[in-house]
């Protein structure tokens, strides 16, 4: 049992879901998803557990189903910057990661927002760079669809480079008279403006604020697609990935290392944090029962029905969930294909029909009802067990170099973070892979990004 701080250490972050089919809002211990008190509780508990960061996503839309508002899905997304600014006042060491899209945000605006958050938190801010605004569409915005799908990474890159240039442009020369502000004004007149005029974006801005103690925000990215991975390998300090098992993470590590080699970066220069669904039980059986209850909630009737209706591209009013898969013909409508519901994009009507035929054959062969089919197609993934079992699973992936840590998905608001901090973290500490105190109160230093 090691009492010294580990050389290579495991990192933990908490991902706070804003909307999702996988948030169990009905759990008796679940806090109200959008109350500020739930955010405060989550942040303070994560800090108690020495987590590197709280991570907020962005861009979900009010749940709709075939044009009608859906009453079943949890939803609510307060403004990320504002929540993080408030949490900055209540925390001292926890990193605060904001998701800001590069499609509907301007570089100057992003730079100023990040610089402000980084100063309010005194060096604890990260930026999760996303190329689109999630499901948000141009119709929400005055500017409309600003970026063509194929240009999104080019726009993201141009945006990120411009943001960095604005953040880095603060004059390095010292100041020399009594009033800080007058001097800043004097110095800034000497500093270059950041001017970019391209088909992707236009900006002409002066430096915004002096650098924080962190110098610049830590960059996070999802980076799953090849384009995403190419982007991440150039710019990211940390990656969060959806894979939760050794095989998938091994494949990902190979792809990542290839990309990193192309840009001359080492694997050690970037942190890989799988998103982790975690359920901690009193015993292995208890954890399994809880996981089953959770999965039953995730795939309750309304969700099974919505999944099938999206897959079929039409409403299915006569669908009996305990009967066979629907006999109706599917309707091809590309707009309804959505990765958010784990359906792969389908390029044509024929291919949709072929897939549905395949599903029907498979279900008939195995004697599955519609409900059983949908459950079988979505095997539960995650880390379920006693605190010790979850810790062992984390450590196994960590020690094999497949993960540098985990971004725990806070699927049961308040409850999940409590469970990890109280029941998993102490074991990680005893096993010598997790620190007993924060190394720093600057995010980049805790994460080893500097």
């Amino acid at each position: 049992m090691s009492r010294t701080e580990p050389a290579r250490r495991l990192h933990l972050g908490i991902f706070y879901p804003e909307t999702s089919a996988v948030v169990d809002w009905s759990h008796p211990n679940a806090g109200p998803l959008n109350d500020f008190d739930t955010y405060r509780h989550t942040a303070l508990k994560a800090q108690e557990g020495l987590f590197d960061a709280l991570f907020l996503g962005e861009g979900a839309l009010f749940p709709e189903h075939f044009g009608a508002l859906s009453p079943h899905n949890v939803y609510g997304e307060p403004d990320r910057d504002t929540i993080l600014a408030a949490l900055a006042a209540l925390t001292t060491h926890l990193g605060l990661v904001a998701t800001i899209n590069t499609a509907f945000s301007d570089p100057y605006d992003i730079a100023r927002r990040l610089a402000t958050l980084d100063h309010l938190s005194d060096g604890r801010v990260g930026w999760n760079v996303v190329t689109s605004a999630g499901a948000l569409k141009g119709e929400y915005f005055e500017r409309g669809d600003a970026v063509a799908h194929e240009d999104r990474y080019r726009r993201a890159e141009a945006n990120l480079v411009a943001v960095r240039a604005i953040l880095d442009a603060w004059p390095a020369r010292g100041l020399s008279a009594s009033y800080f502000d007058e001097l800043i004004r004097a110095d800034v007149r000497l500093a270059p403006r950041i001017s970019v005029h391209s088909s992707l974006l236009t900006v002409d801005a002066p430096p915004v604020l002096p650098p924080s103690r962190q110098q610049r925000p830590v960059i996070f990215q999802a980076g799953e697609s090849n384009d995403g991975l190419a982007f991440s390998s150039r710019y990211s300090d940390a990656l969060f990935v959806p894979y939760q098992n050794a095989e998938d993470l091994g494949d990902y590590a190979h792809r990542l290392e290839t990309q990193l080699a192309r840009v001359g970066r080492s694997r050690a220069s970037i942190k890989v944090l799988p998103r982790a669904y975690v359920i901690v039980g009193d015993s292995t059986d208890d954890a399994r029962d809880q996981a089953e209850a959770y999965d039953s909630f995730v795939w309750r009737d309304s969700q099974v029905r919505q999944f099938l209706e999206r897959a079929w591209g039409r409403t299915l009013p006569d669908l009996d969930l305990d009967g066979p898969l629907p006999e109706e013909d599917p309707v091809f409508d590309q707009r309804l294909d959505s990765a958010r519901f784990t359906l792969q994009k389908i390029a044509s009507s024929d291919r949709l029909r072929a897939r549905i035929d395949g599903w029907r054959s498979e279900a008939a062969e195995r004697g599955w009802s519609a409900r059983q089919f949908v459950r079988a197609k979505h095997p539960q993934q995650g880390f379920f067990g006693t605190g010790e079992e979850v810790a062992n699973s984390f450590i196994s992936l960590f020690e094999r170099g497949l993960a540098d840590g985990f971004l725990v998905h806070n699927n049961i608001p308040k409850h999940t973070v409590d469970q990890i901090v109280d029941r998993v973290v102490p074991i990680l500490q005893d096993r010598g892979v997790y620190p007993r105190r924060y190394a720093s109160d600057v995010l980049a230093r805790n994460l080893g990004a500097v």
Binding site: A89, L117, Y179, A205, P210
Partner: protein, 340 residues
């Protein structure tokens, strides 16, 4: 927030004494300034200052260090550690998206439990436009038209979730009462936007908007606009003025601004006496409230706030209320012809 003559403080002119020099210490300087602001606002919160306006100077060539931080972010930071004081960030709507501005203000109001206002300060000039790679808007009439539509649209987003829309009915698998959710379908002269807010605005429902006089009259829709800053130091003008009476539409009060520095009073007049007399004269002239514009924390701390407390102008930390309820006091105290 419970009195009849609301007293606010603008933070935009506040400079922090003792800021260290030298580039290596600039981060320390910002940290010191933020800590000083937080310490003071918490104090104002305790002694009963009604609201603080968080000013905005979007480029480093204007304003103080504090006002270069994004005002809504600073308001969020302050909201987390205060209980009663209203927090009113300045937001320039120029080249911003109504969806995001509405969302940010609704979130602030959630964090602050209904203590948020919006000081509308439009600037569509060339200096701002080029930050965003856009064209400036020169014509006042055009600016006014864009801004009013922007505010109307923000209010539409605030109202897209009625109170009680989240029901969390586990038994029936109903998270929402979707009958209480309304889609914004807006097609106006300047904006065409369709969508639903991402967050409820249960705290106040409608965030009160403070605006310069030009932008107050004629606001439409559900937005509630309060006229602010229509005169600076009105009682010191040659013909000591009350609020102008040209407002029509949902303008609900008039607030005077008062510049406060250690040199505000004549050499032979005690500053504490001066501030108390100034406020009494504003009340007399029919103003609905005052927004102090100090140039240092020290002058507030040492002279102005103790004098106002002693004269009974500051609340003693009474019941926690919303900024809207505070401004309703302003409506009632506004002179004849000033309310809609």
């Amino acid at each position: 927030m419970s009195r009849e003559f609301p007293i606010g403080i603008r933070t935009g002119g506040l400079a922090v004494d003792g800021i260290p020099n030298g580039a290596a210490e600039e981060a320390d300087a910002v940290r010191t300034a933020i800590a000083e602001l937080q310490r003071n606002v918490r104090r104002w919160d305790r002694i009963g200052v009604d609201y603080a306006v968080i000013d905005d100077a979007p480029t480093p060539v204007t304003g103080t260090l504090l006002s270069r931080l994004v005002p809504t972010h600073v308001a969020g930071y302050l909201a987390a550690t205060t209980e009663r004081i209203g927090l009113v960030p300045v937001i320039n709507p120029a080249f911003q998206e109504p969806y995001y501005v509405a969302k940010r203000l609704a979130t602030l109001d959630l964090v602050a439990g209904g203590r948020i206002g919006w000081l509308l300060q439009p600037d569509y000039s060339g200096e701002i436009a080029r930050l965003f790679g856009r064209q400036p808007v020169e014509e006042n009439v055009q600016v006014r038209s864009i801004v009013l539509e922007f505010v109307q649209l923000a209010a539409a987003f605030w109202h897209s979730w009625e109170p009680g829309a989240v029901i969390r009915d586990r038994e029936n698998d109903l998270y929402f009462d979707v009958g209480r959710i309304h889609r914004v379908e807006h097609q106006g002269a300047h904006f065409t936007v369709r969508g639903i807010a991402s967050i409820h605005s249960d705290s106040q429902g409608t965030i009160p908007v403070l605006a310069a006089h030009d932008f107050s009259a004629g606001a439409v829709g559900a937005a509630r606009i309060v006229s602010a800053a229509t005169r600076v130091n009105p009682s010191q003008d040659a013909g000591a003025e009350g609020p102008a009476g040209t407002s029509t539409g949902p303008v609900v009060g008039a607030t005077a601004e008062l510049v406060v520095s250690k040199d505000s009073a004549r050499a032979d007049v005690d500053l504490a006496d001066w501030i108390v007399r100034e406020i009494a004269s504003l009340v007399e002239l029919g103003w609905g409230g005052v927004l102090l514009r100090p140039d240092s924390f020290a002058v507030l701390d040492e002279v102005v706030l103790p004098a106002l407390a002693q004269a009974g102008y500051l609340g003693s930390g009474g019941s926690v209320g919303t900024l809207t309820s505070l401004l309703h006091q302003t409506i009632r105290s506004a002179p004849e012809g000033e309310t809609a």
